[in-house]
Structure formats: C-alpha cells, structure tokens
Symmetry: C2
Subunit: 194 residues, 2 copies
C-alpha cells in the first residue's frame, strides 16, 4: 500500500514536469509510462483514465502551489506585508518550470471544453481570486487600506499584474520584468491605501 502511494506520487511528479513542458494535453498514459519505465497497464491501474490522471496532476500542482505560495505568506503579518509576501512567492513559483503553465494555459485551453478538468481549473482559479480578495480585506482590517477599498477590484488588479508578469517573464525574457512588476505593485498598493 505504502509502495503504491509512493509510486503514484512519483508518477504525479513526473506528470507535472511533463505538463510543464508540453501542456496538460501533452500528458498521456503512454508517454508517462515510458518516462517512468512502467508498462501502460501498470500505470493505467493507478488512474483508470486520462482525465483522472490530468486531474490528479492538477491536484498535485495545487498542493505544491499551496505549500510554496500560500502557507508561507499566511505566516507573515496581515496587511501590506502579507500582500507583498504573496506576490513574491507567487512570482518565484511562476518563474519555476511549473508556474503558470500548469494553471493559466490550460485555463484558456479548456475554456470551451466542458468536463471535470475544466471544472477543476475553474474552481482553482476562483480559489486564487478569493485568496487575493482576502488579503485585501485583511489590509482594511489593519487600517492600511481605505475602509471602502473595493476588494473584488483589488483581486482583479492583482491577478492581472501576476498574469502580466507571467507573460513578460515567460515569453519576452525581459530583464526589466522584475522592475516593472515591483513598480506596478507599488502603484497598486498606493491606489488602495488610506
């Protein structure tokens, strides 16, 4: 049983690396079995379908995301320091192989393809946006943001900034990207401050 769990986790790790390279659609049981030196039927026994495999890869990515981004940020002081920590962790995650590629591109790719993968991605994106809204609410509580600051708007603004960073960084290889992102965050926080 323990052995089975370990094997499954190793498959999910390899699957996440593969999804980062080829996109979620590029992962299939055949190619993953080959990469893992397993038989197709041996790997199939763990997941039963490509859809299950894709969802378990996304769940694995979400766990890594939570551990690398959300949990460390939640240990910092609420308010602006927590917002900054969240952005900084998010960007580090995005700069890694698995960042963005694993949630952002599939989100666009699955836009018109109903099913469990799309539902999972939808929920995951909504959770991310909720998280951004909550850090803004905390910044109102600490008195750093204005009482009437629009936290839904803040979530949109900050999510946009993170996507902008992701695309500049991933595609354009712009050495100034970090500076741009820092300036944008500074202005964003200023827009909501007391």
């Amino acid at each position: 049983m323990q052995k089975g769990k370990e094997t499954k986790m190793a498959i999910l790790k390899a699957g996440l690396a593969m999804a980062s390279q080829l996109g979620l659609d590029g992962v299939n049981i055949g190619s993953l079995a080959k990469a893992m030196n397993m038989s197709k039927s041996g790997l199939f026994a763990h997941f039963q379908s490509k859809e299950n495999l894709q969802i378990e890869i996304l769940e694995h990515a979400a766990r890594v995301f939570a551990e690398s981004v959300i949990v460390p940020a939640s240990k910092t002081a609420p308010g602006i320091p927590r917002i900054k920590a969240l952005v900084s962790n998010w960007i580090d995650w995005s700069a890694q192989l698995t960042g963005g590629r694993i949630f952002v591109s599939p989100s666009a790719d699955y836009r018109d393809r109903p099913g469990r993968v799309r539902e999972y991605l939808l929920r995951q994106q909504n959770d991310s946006i909720d998280c951004l809204r909550r850090v803004a609410q905390l910044a109102i509580k600490t008195g750093e943001f204005r009482e009437d600051a629009d936290c839904e708007q803040f979530a949109f603004d900050l999510y946009s900034l993170l996507l902008g960073f992701h695309l500049y960084d991933k595609l354009l290889d712009d050495s100034e990207t970090k500076k741009r992102q820092e300036q944008a965050l500074k202005q964003l926080v200023a827009n909501y401050k007391q």
Copy 2:
C-alpha cells in the same frame, strides 16, 4: 492563381477557427484537410509543413487583429481617447473566439520550444507592447499624461490589464468582468495623468 489564393485564404480561415477551438498545436494538416473536404496532399501543397501552416495561421490572425483593433483605433484622436478605443477594440477581439487563444496561450506553450513559431509569437507580442507604449507617448504629446510618465511601465500595466480581462472573461465567465476592466482602466489612466 487567383483560385489558388482563394483556396489558401479559405484554409487559413478554417485553420484559425480550429486553432481557436483546439489551440495552435491542435491544428494539423490531416484534420484541416478533412474539415476542408480536401485531400491531405492537396492541402500539403499549399504549406509544405505543419510549421509553415501554423505560422501562416498566426499571420492571418495578426492581419485580422490589425484590421479589427489597431486600424480603427488609429483613426481616433491621439491621447486618452485613442487608448480607450484601443482597449475597447482589443476586448471585443478577445471576446470573440479567436481572441487571446490564438496569441496568449501559444505564447506560454511555446516558451520552451525554440523555432519559427516561437520567434513569430515573440515578435508579435513585442509589436503589441510597442503599440501600447506608443499610445502612451502620444498621450504625453497631447498633454494629457505627465511629461515624465513612464511609457514602458504603462505598456506593462495595460498589457496586464488586458490579460486579466482575458482570463476573467474566458474562464470565469464573470458577469462583472466588464465593470472590473473599466474601473481598472480608469485608475490606470488616472495614475499617468497630469
């Protein structure tokens, strides 16, 4: 010859529709030939390779983008009115099937895959960012933006906003997305104004 051109244009239109549904990677000569009721060899004669086909689809998308977004905006008054027109046209384009999907997702997907498709996407994204920088420079000239407004930063901020809109609109089906985007644009322009 005329007939050949017409056929090729019809293939590119169908290819763009297919890329909008399945992503650029989902387009291949076999499936496109089937959709066009042509033989594979007949279609192959027009493009010679999948890479050529993909690049010609991207070029076709870029022409549609220029005609729907850039050209009409360039006919409006320079400065803030032109920025607003550009955003409005861009969003209309993004809301269509072909928007974003055709440039944004492939841009992430081809991040680590050197070749002509990646080079084309890189150039295309850089052109878009140049365009955003230029409208900000014009807004300085009309006296609407501050003399020392950072046009590179404006391009990053506005590009982020457009990506944010794209993802909210495409994935989250958020009925408030339009309102969020309008509020974000209003704040963005205010940040750079005299």
